[in-house]
């Protein structure tokens, strides 16, 4: 495990990107950041600007309009960046996959590292996913 990976995984700045989500996943993302789960223990904090992000949390079924913005935001993030699809909509399109404005799942627009299914996923599920991602990055 390199020093850079160690430093990076000890201090993940999360950036929350909501693409036409129904808001349930957004609320669960905020729940995961509340004192009850206290993610700052592991160095995970929420940032306002994508330029300082190490972890993109994507919520919702990205449609024709928001997919363009998704691509742009992904290219604005300084690499390396971990992308997590939060919720069934971000993972597969879920009930919106036959909608008129839905084209493709998120991972056909940008590379996704971890999928967190659920409608909405529990904060515990998100924490488990991030822990697994960190272990994978560290080569464990």
């Amino acid at each position: 495990m390199g020093m850079a990976v160690k430093i990076l995984t000890r201090s993940l700045n999360a950036f929350h990107l909501s693409g036409s989500a129904c808001n349930n996943c957004d609320i669960e993302v905020l729940d995961a950041l509340t004192p009850r789960y206290d993610l700052e223990r592991f160095g995970i904090t929420l940032v306002g600007s994508v330029r300082q992000a190490d972890l993109l949390l994507l919520c919702g079924a990205f449609n024709r309009k928001s997919a363009e913005r998704l691509r742009r935001v992904y290219h604005e993030a300084p690499k390396p960046v971990v992308v997590a699809a939060v919720g069934s909509c971000a993972c597969s399109g879920c009930i919106f996959r036959h909608s008129y404005n839905w084209e493709e799942p998120v991972d056909s627009y940008i590379p996704v590292d971890v999928y967190i299914p659920g409608c909405p996923p529990k904060p515990e599920a998100m924490i488990a996913a991030i822990v697994k991602t960190i272990a994978k990055l560290r080569g464990g």
Binding site: I7, L8, R10, S11, P35, E40, G43, S49, D54, K79
Partner: protein, 303 residues
């Protein structure tokens, strides 16, 4: 003094390396106290170090609308200001007879540099939200400098000198005027540090990071490091101006004052909501300046 000696002082002790380490530790204290206020566990001891170091292993994005030279120079200017100020303040505490007449005024100017760097960086990044943050930082700077200098006039009058070393051996905080002036200065460093209730240049809810919105990678890391150093340098400056830490047997009092100041800053930021920019300017130019003037009048009256 020889040039290598000056370099070691500026880069190792009491300058860059030492004040960065002290700042990282105090920033951990700040975050841990915050966590305890919110009934959380809080981050581990090395978390502030990882947070700063992380930016140096990440990619640096320079926005296409930015002016690259200023974009890169701004954080360095801020870091240089904080480093020089910490070297001068620390040096005058180690040996109060050193320094020159007027070095206090130089330090006051040097402590403006980090805010100036944020303004420069914000405007050079070419982002409208960053410009808003930069202009707020500028107004805030104009607002808190007046009461800050007025408050510092109290220990200057008390010691009868504008040399850091003379202030460092005079205990001003034992007088009523000194207590008032220290309170005013504490509120002013809250603004200088850009913490709640004066975090409006960075306003996460409406400016999403504000002045530093376009910064990433190494320049962002330098800004973070400067901010972290200021958490040590600004309280240390107040301690050396008000608490007489270099007087005989004053080292322990100075240390206690330093920790108390940092914890007060943390508690203020955890219990206050953010002010609007007009409220902040009115607050500094109104009540805070009046209290500073009252402290000055008390001092002139011999209290």
């Amino acid at each position: 003094m020889t040039y290598p000696g000056i370099l070691i002082q500026a880069l190792v002790f009491p300058g860059l390396a030492f004040s960065a380490a002290a700042g990282l530790f105090l920033s951990w204290v700040d975050r841990k106290v915050t966590a305890r206020v919110q009934m959380r566990q809080g981050p581990p001891l090395l978390q502030p170090f990882y947070d700063v170091a992380k930016y140096f292993v990440k990619e640096t994005c320079i926005p296409s609308g930015a002016t690259p030279a200023v974009f890169w120079a701004a954080p360095l200017v801020g870091l240089a200001g904080a480093t020089t100020a910490s070297t001068m303040i620390g040096g005058s505490l180690l040996d109060p007879s050193r320094g020159y007449v007027g070095d206090l005024i130089v330090v006051i100017y040097l402590l403006v540099l980090p805010s100036l760097a944020v303004i420069l960086g914000a405007f050079s990044s070419g982002n409208p939200l960053a410009s808003l943050g930069g202009s707020r930082e500028m107004k805030l700077l104009l607002a808190y400098e007046l009461p800050f200098v007025l408050a510092l006039a109290v220990p200057i009058l008390n010691a009868g000198s504008i040399r850091l070393g003379d202030l460092a051996v005079t205990v001003t905080v034992a007088r009523p005027s000194g207590v008032l002036a220290l309170l005013v200065a504490l509120i002013c460093i809250q603004g200088k540090l850009g913490l709640v209730p004066f975090d409006l240049p960075e306003a996460e809810s409406e400016l999403t990071g504000g002045a530093l919105i376009e910064y990433s990678g190494a320049p962002m890391g330098i800004f973070r490091l400067t901010r972290t150093m200021l958490l040590y340098v600004l309280p240390l400056f107040l301690v050396s101006a008000f608490c007489g830490p270099a007087a005989a047997g004053g080292a322990l009092r100075g240390l206690i004052c330093l920790v108390l100041l940092v914890v007060s800053v943390t508690l203020i930021r955890n219990t206050a909501p953010r002010l609007r920019i007009d409220q902040a300017v009115k607050f500094f130019w109104g009540p805070v300046s009046v209290v500073a003037l009252a402290a000055l009048a008390l001092q002139a009256g011999g209290w």
